[in-house]
């Protein structure tokens, strides 16, 4: 439907131009330039709340990508076919509303991306958390990404589950509860500091504290420690609030204090 609208707009413009005569060239050119800029900025692939067959969704999605991005940028995509040099390793939630490619406009090649429940980075554990560990190892050792960005978000179902269970007495899940327990230290901190506030506010604080905890857990990986010590990598946190459309970001810095020698008196 959006594609139909833009097609109609172009046809309308062509018809307008063919009917006009004796127009001031400068003004017309300026108007057309402005219209072209606006059209260029319009993303015609915006989600519409219309129910679609799933296969039709991905068919149209792929055709749009191939026609409007891949075929129009052969140099970029030929280069990406040979290898990738992403600037970011991103940890984001699996939540359908928070894909970093949308909210931070990451294009192909920009970000090596891990997505899991509640965007958690567990501490080093080669047996239990080899999935996340493998991604960190590959991103740092093989791809040498210069930035790690952990992005939390509002109304996170994983954090809400962490904050409510087992106190709410609900039946445990097979896997979810075990996974979100990684962020238990964040929960403890939030309850200690903000226990008097509403549950929703506590969840919001926990969503941000869990990002900080994940940034701290990153330092339990030897390759991250080494890269941080050599100043080859930066660790950043982010928080996307999709209720009011805001984004916060901050950096996790590691410093050594000056050395103070102790003199015997």
């Amino acid at each position: 439907m959006a594609r139909q609208s833009s097609k109609l707009a172009v046809e309308g413009l062509e018809s307008f131009l063919s009917e006009q005569s004796g127009l001031d060239d400068v003004n017309t050119a300026a108007t057309i330039e402005k219209l072209a800029e606006e059209l260029e900025e319009t993303d015609i692939n915006v989600a519409e709340p219309v129910k679609k067959d799933p296969v039709q969704m991905i068919t149209e999605g792929f055709i749009y990508f191939k026609t409007n991005k891949f075929d129009k940028n052969p140099e970029l995509y030929n280069s990406l076919a040979q290898g990738q040099w992403p600037q970011f390793l991103v940890f984001a939630c699996s939540d359908s509303r928070v894909c970093p490619s949308h909210i931070l406009n990451f294009q192909p090649g920009d970000a090596f991306m891990v997505r899991n429940i509640a965007n958690l980075v567990p501490p080093f554990d080669q047996l239990r958390y080899s999935c996340v560990g493998a991604a960190i190892e590959y991103a740092i050792e093989a791809l040498e990404v210069p930035n790690i960005l952990v992005i939390g978000h509002s109304h996170c179902g994983g954090i809400k589950r962490l904050m409510s269970h087992p106190e709410d007495g609900s039946a445990p899940y097979d896997f979810i509860d075990e996974w979100v327990k990684i962020a238990k230290p964040a929960k403890a901190k939030v309850i200690a500091k903000f226990g008097n506030l509403s549950f929703e506010t506590q969840c919001e604080h926990c969503e941000k504290e869990a990002v900080n905890l994940s940034l701290t857990n990153l330092l339990s990986y030897p390759y991250v420690q080494k890269a941080v010590a050599c100043k080859k990598i930066r660790l950043m946190g982010g928080y996307y609030n999709f209720i009011d459309g805001t984004f916060e970001h901050w950096e996790f810095e590691c410093h050594f204090s000056p050395h103070f020698p102790i003199f015997a008196v």
């Binding site: 359908s96 928070v98 339990s220 459309g245 410093h255």
Partner: protein, 335 residues
């Protein structure tokens, strides 16, 4: 008093104690700063490999290199670095504001609805590779797909996440000449990240489709195909990609006459099918597939010539066998 033998069960590692001279400062643009000094509440368990056998010894874990490494002053370009930090944050700012202007504000009502809850039709399991984000290549918009991304888009089985270890422990009490022997059965979970996401997507969000997308030139699959049994097992990548080992064995037996690159390509698709079979080892997934409430699809994105293949697992059309052969239907090839 009991004197335990050198073999011990596990060595909990307290990060804040072992990295003595670490001072961490954080700067935030909101809220209170984290404390400098020791890291709070971060207790790390560095579990090491276990060896089964009559005399068990725990291998010492590799101590992570401490943060006492001296900074190379010649590399410090503090002014340039500050500028780089600002550039990155400026970049992030522009990226977000562009999204806010072009999508969020233009579709405010839709985003307000999404803020109340999500009801995606798809769960996607895709590779973490920067070139294959499903939002880019398949055009998923906010609210449409619950996405898991890991190395080589692998799905572990429901059972493999539990590993049993038999730990042997010797205890020599004072004034005793022969030690007491103890055996402990230890249950250790395998990789658990993807399982939690599957559970949430299928049981909480009730997605109707799961799509596992493989892709060309996958580094994880290449690592899997290159894996030798005698290799050092300290690599995380190896510990993870071994989840797809059956796919590599099938590939090596079926495509041994092909070049290594061609075998990798074959394995990229074989591992998608292997993941689809693994999905059916989850009882709550198999139940829904059997009832026709959930459909399981495989996909393959080739970014060299920009093509996409898609197929659907035909649950009724074939039985699952041990070597993960099953029937497929609705195969498409887009180019």
């Amino acid at each position: 008093m009991a004197t335990p033998s050198p073999t011990t069960f596990s060595q909990p590692f307290n990060f804040s104690k072992d990295v003595r001279r670490t001072t961490l400062k954080t700067s935030t643009i909101f809220g209170p700063k984290l404390k400098s000094g020791e890291i709070e509440h971060t207790h790390l368990r560095l579990l090491t490999s276990f060896m089964t056998g009559p005399r068990l010894e725990l291998k010492a874990s590799k101590d992570p290199p401490g943060l006492t490494q001296q900074l190379d002053n010649s590399r410090l370009e503090s002014l340039a670095e500050t500028e780089n930090v600002c550039d990155f944050f400026e970049d992030l700012k522009h990226r977000f504001l562009r999204f806010k202007k072009r999508k969020f504000k233009e579709n405010l009502e839709h985003f307000q609805n999404l803020a109340q809850g999500q009801a995606p039709k798809f769960m996607i399991i895709a590779c973490a590779d920067s070139r294959v984000c499903p939002s880019n290549i398949l055009g998923f918009q906010p609210g449409e797909a619950f996405v898991v991304r890991n190395i080589a888009n692998l799905v572990p089985t429901f059972e493999v996440h539990i590993t049993l270890h038999l730990v042997y422990f010797e205890f020599l009490l004072p004034k005793q000449t022969s030690p007491l022997h103890f055996f402990f059965l230890c249950v250790q979970s395998g990789p658990s990240e993807t399982n939690a996401a599957l559970e949430f997507a299928v049981n909480a969000l009730k997605v109707e489709n799961i799509l596992v997308i493989g892709h060309s030139r996958c580094g994880g699959i290449r690592a899997l195909m290159s894996m030798q049994d005698e290799e050092d097992s300290s690599s995380f990548i190896r510990s993870w990609v071994v989840v797809g080992k059956n796919a590599s064995l099938i590939t090596k037996s079926a495509a041994s006459n092909l070049s290594f690159d061609q075998q990798c390509r074959h394995c990229e698709k074989e591992s998608v099918n292997h993941s689809l079979s693994n999905l059916l080892t989850y009882p709550w997934i198999e139940e829904k597939v059997a009832r026709g409430e959930l459909f399981v699809h495989g996909g393959y994105y080739d970014f060299i010539d920009c093509t996409f293949e898609k197929w659907t697992l035909d649950y009724e059309g074939g039985n699952l066998e041990k070597n993960s052969r099953f029937a497929v239907k609705n195969q498409f090839y887009w180019c």
